[in-house]
Symmetry: C2
Subunit: 181 residues, 2 copies
DNA sequence: CCGCTCATGTAACTGGTTACATGATTTA
DNA sequence: TAAATCATGTAACCAGTTACATGAGCGG
């Protein structure tokens, strides 16, 4: 039960949401997602779905479309149960832990750069976030249009976090500005 | 230059901040950190610092304290330069990308659980975040007390994100509540 | 017909994890 | 003095990445 990795569960979830689909479709989902946590590379997905099938979480069917062989995967009852068990409480403690933020990681060591370049870092990070936020907003609107409530809800969460990061940087810029002036 | 992993750079940063220190002290830094992104396991840190020394980013000295042999590491000029280069702009795009959030990941697939248990998930997640936030607040105060401006600033960023996640869940609870009632 | 994207895979590598081993030092 | 913890390491493993190989179908 606890033998499924986070990526495996996400793939299970994607197959559950989309219904019968090819590994390639799953990969595209990762490729178009604004998150870069998983690459969804062929080297991860193809072995993964076969692994899931071998363990009974997925079932596959060969369906030749034209002369082209392709394999579509469907979630099994066992897969659905595993997915539900993962989503439902109890939530492991680390799920609520501090999330990883590369900008924050750099912030710890910002003292190493000369003070006149510190605000440059903050400004650039803020600008990068503002660029990214538009992508997320678009994705948010797309899900709303599709009527996918939960994906939409998830995206609003991502949006809120990005806005919090921007506000944080703006505030940091002010408090550092006070120090150096 | 770009041959250093994120973890290697963070370790470099820790050694820079604390001055000469043992791998064990570095490990403790990871162990006490409220973030669980890296475990800071012996198996990662000990080989890592030796790797950094071999490449000239760290220098080490054997100093026997009592009968006990220990090795303290110091950052070299090369190490300092690498760290500064990493912190400074230009920031890679993925640094501003959506961060990974295990609660959000689950949210995508929340439709798989029966509607009467969905709000349970949201409530539990919110409660877990509220528990965690106290830890972060304490850490925040600790850094403020130490006068470590940048670590404190980093922590306030983490705090803002956690608050944003809580607000997001509270809002989700409301919008799902409307649907099911 | 050439090049691009679709689509399915494999192989080698790698960074980090878990688990284990060992001995010194401190504390009950 | 026994147990706990400090401290330094090693070895095996593993999930996921990068890079490569292959071929179908399609648009210019």
């Amino acid at each position: 039960m606890g033998d499924l990795s986070e990526l495996e569960l996400v793939v299970l979830g994607i197959v559950w949401k989309r219904g019968p689909c090819t590994p390639y479709a799953v990969r595209k989902e990762f490729a178009t997602s604004p998150s870069s946590h998983w690459s969804g590379s062929a080297g991860s997905i193809y072995p993964l779905v076969r692994r899931l099938e071998r363990r009974g979480y997925l079932r596959s069917r060969r369906e030749s479309q034209g002369r082209r062989a392709r394999r579509t995967y469907t979630i099994t009852r066992r897969g659905t149960a595993a997915l539900r068990r993962w989503v439902c409480p109890p939530l492991p403690d680390e799920a609520a832990a501090i999330t990883y933020d590369p900008i924050r990681t750099r912030m710890y060591f910002l003292g190493i750069v000369p003070p006149d370049r510190q605000s440059g870092f903050l400004a650039e990070a803020e600008a990068a976030l503002r660029r990214q936020i538009r992508v997320v907003q678009a994705e948010c609107a797309r899900y709303a249009g599709l009527g996918d409530t939960f994906s939409h809800l998830a995206m609003t969460g991502a949006l809120r976090i990005m806005r919090a990061r921007i506000a944080w940087l703006a505030n940091a810029r002010k408090s550092l500005g006070c120090m150096t002036v």
